[in-house]
Amino acid sequence: MSDEDAQIMRWLSPLEPNNRHQSVRTERFDGVGDWLLETSEFREWRCNEGGADKAVLFCSGNPGVGKTYLR
């Protein structure tokens, strides 16, 4: 990436979500959550079925389970 491209990227946002993704995925335990990818809701969402009405999928986590972030 050229210097200017790097500057443009920083100008767009100071956040670097890719870094966080790398650390979360490294910690991920194999197989966990695979069931979600098999649900009909996810598949329909993924395949763009249902059009604009079904554009948004919200996974609601049980409050007893704990926070999302990993440290």
Binding site: L12, L15, R20, L36, A55, S60, K67, Y69
Partner: protein, 209 residues
């Protein structure tokens, strides 16, 4: 295993993982299907920095990194750099750039993890911006995770949002606990009875949650 350790490990099985799994599974297909994936993990510790402007900017950044920075973004940057010695983009500018960028990509997925970890004052503006993007194109898909208390916020902006409840999956947890026990550094210190008890008690406690 104390309750604290238990709950810390349980977080390994929840939403952040689900989001990273979804992002990875989408990215696996991104090459062949010509889709773009942007994802962001909201974080209590980064609340001040995670404004709607910065989040939408980060999404744009991920979308443009795919095929090189488009000219309209380059022009906006150069213009911004000259005004007042270099101003950052405003939300309205970023939304304009996002819409132009999205129009050139066949399918766009935006994943936002842990909406509840955003500052409450940021959530309405953030959801409004996402709704604005969704209305722009039929080819946008949004994946959100969050604790149940933000479900109402999501429903306010997306009346037909599809909700999937995530609860601890006992098979996942059993697998996880058994793998951790298999990796124990002193396996001889643990009898089989103790091992069976550990798995049983953990699963019982989780079933009660």
């Amino acid at each position: 295993m104390s309750g604290k350790v238990l709950s810390r490990n349980l977080t390994l099985l929840t939403a952040g993982n689900i989001s990273s799994l979804v992002i990875d599974s989408l990215c696996d297909q991104a090459q062949e299907e010509n889709i773009a994936v942007a994802g962001l993990y909201c974080d209590f510790l980064a609340q001040q920095e995670q404004t709607t402007t910065n989040i939408m900017g980060a999404i744009l950044k991920q979308l443009v990194s795919r095929g090189g920075i488009p000219n309209h973004v380059r022009v906006a940057y150069q213009k911004g750099k000259m005004e007042f010695g270099g101003r950052g983009p405003r939300l309205v500018d970023l939304m304009g750039m996002l819409k132009i960028t999205i129009a050139s990509i066949p399918q766009v997925f935006i994943c936002l993890d842990a909406l509840d970890e955003c500052l409450p004052k940021h959530i309405p503006e953030l959801l409004e911006s996402l709704r604005d993007i969704v209305r722009e194109s039929l080819r946008i898909r949004i994946f959100l995770t969050g604790r149940p208390h933000v479900k109402g916020d999501a429903q306010r902006y997306f009346s037909k949002v599809v909700v999937i409840p995530i609860s601890p999956n006992l098979d996942d947890i059993q697998n996880y606990v058994e793998t951790r026990l298999d990796r124990d550094l002193e396996p001889e210190a643990m009898s089989n009875d103790l091992r069976v008890d550990i798995v049983r008690v953990i699963l019982e406690k989780i079933s009660d949650m």
